[in-house]
Amino acid sequence: MTRNTIRRAAPLALGLALVAGSAMAEDVELRPGAGRELVEQNCNSCHTSAYVQMNSAFLNEAGWTAEVNKMVNVFHAPVPPEDIPRIIAYLTAQYGAR
């Protein structure tokens, strides 16, 4: 989807992401793994990655699928459809129930 769904001027939203990103780089860094950058790009405009880490590790693939679908379908996170399975795979691999 396009950036026009992000509130306020796009430069401001980008500034937001950069500022938050710099703080988060120290505070909540997601584990390395395939798909990490997709989570950062798609999820962090509305909430930090603390939301991911806080909810670990007890959700299985079905649990993470439900969470991602809720973000997309209910909260209208502008996530490209092709990224969704890769985001779920990352969350399940790195933050899924063992």
Binding site: H47, V52, M54, S56, V74
Partner: protein, 401 residues
């Protein structure tokens, strides 16, 4: 303005360091990831709080914030769903609009008008997140993984909602009153956080529009300049930065009423059914369940075998506390604790008791509060999909020496 706020928030985040002594008190039953991510953080105007996320800001009070029956403003928990929070400059231009199809007319008030035009009212009441203690659910439930500190008790000062609604004129056909606040989502299509209460609760004399909290203006992150105070009900209805109130002749049907903050129908008793929002399967969470918390001891703490003090607080959804009982033998026998000052039926009720183990070794402490309505804390967790109403009897194991 937005950017300045975010910079301040980011700076606070950078400055935050986990203070291990404090965080050592994090409950071992919290999810591992929550224990890893929690840190002591600060927000402008706040003392140290347990930061679960800084955007949106979700901070709970550490245990020591509950050693007094009134929770200090700078230790009061902070909870937001949506990350776009107006800064103080913008909020100082605040106006409140009241209307809707259940109103005779639309009216607008400034803060000065509210303060000047209506009799002032005060209530001391617990503001508790519906999901307080969600992190202690077993099995875990997704959401913000709160420990015990997503709550606080304050003296709220403002005006009665019913007095303000009367200026708009309440039609016979009005059934609910909906609240919207100045905060919103980053993505425009994200459902705005709108909550409603039944007209009966809105007209209750203790339901306020409050600007004062413990004699001070509301802190920014607790709803400056005005929030709704719904004593006895969970904090989801206590709309922060409330700037629109709508009298409705049909049920509010946004996501935050229709789908979120719901509990299985009939599972938790309430005084006032929220009839217009009940479905075949579920109903909105409403009234706070009776609960208690030990505030001077943590699990695993060392105590004196010759005797030690157990102190805490108890509260419920508006009946007040009848008894708090403490067991020091794992629930076989119970003794009534001494209740402290009564700040009203919606408030934290302090209590204390001296326990004399008389022997060294583990002591299993349990605390059970009972309300004036006869409701006692749960002996077992009552599972529900969103992890609400955790009010299981607290058990602590301390070591006497």
């Amino acid at each position: 303005m937005l950017r300045r706020h975010l910079l301040a928030g980011a700076a606070a985040g950078l400055a935050a360091r986990p203070a291990l002594a404090e965080l050592a008190g994090l409950d071992p039953r919290l999810p591992d990831g929550t224990r890893d991510v929690a840190r002591l953080g600060t927000l402008p105007g706040k003392g140290p709080l347990i930061q679960l996320s800084d955007r949106p800001p979700n901070y709970e009070a550490p245990l020591d914030a509950f050693r007094t029956a009134i929770t200090p403003n700078d230790r009061f928990f902070v909870r937001y769903h949506l990350a776009l929070i107006p800064d103080m400059d913008k909020l100082r231009d605040w106006k409140l609009e009241i209307g809707g199809d259940g109103a005779e007319r639309s009216v607008t008030f400034t803060l000065a008008q509210l303060q000047r035009d209506f009799p002032h009212a005060e209530v001391t009441a617990v503001c508790q997140c519906s999901g307080n203690r969600r992190g202690l659910f077993q099995p875990h439930v997704a959401g913000v993984e709160w420990g015990v500190g997503a709550m606080g008790n304050a003296r709220w000062t403002g005006v009665r909602l019913r007095d303000v609604l009367a200026r708009a004129g309440v039609k016979q056909s009005a059934i609910e009153v909906a609240f919207n606040g100045a905060d919103s989502g980053i993505v425009q299509e994200t459902p705005d956080f709108v909550k409603s209460i039944p007209l009966g609760k809105a007209m209750h004399p203790d339901t306020l529009l409050a600007w004062g909290m413990n004699g001070q203006p509301l802190p920014h992150y607790n709803g400056f300049p005005v929030r709704v105070v719904v004593p006895g009900w969970t904090a989801t209805y206590w709309m922060k930065h409330v700037n629109a109130i709508t009298l409705l002749t049909k049920p509010e049907d946004g996501f935050w009423m229709k789908a979120a903050y719901r509990v299985p129908k009939g599972l938790f008793p309430t005084d006032l059914p929220f009839a217009s929002q009940v479905t075949a399967a579920n109903e909105p969470i409403t009234q706070i369940m009776v609960n208690s918390l030990v505030t001077n001891l943590r699990d695993g703490e060392r105590v004196r075998a010759a005797g030690f003090e157990v102190q805490g607080i108890a509260w419920d959804g508006g009946h007040g506390i009848r008894t708090v009982e403490v067991s020091s033998d794992g629930g076989t026998s119970w003794r009534a604790a001494t209740l402290g000052e009564n700040l009203g039926v919606y408030a934290f009720r302090p209590w204390h008791m001296r326990v004399v183990p008389g022997h060294a070794g583990p002591v299993r402490l349990m605390v059970r509060a009972t309300s004036n309505a006869g409701q006692a804390q749960a002996t077992q967790l009552v599972p529900n999909p969103a992890g609400y109403h955790h009010n299981v009897i607290q058990t602590l194991e301390v070591t006497a020496a």
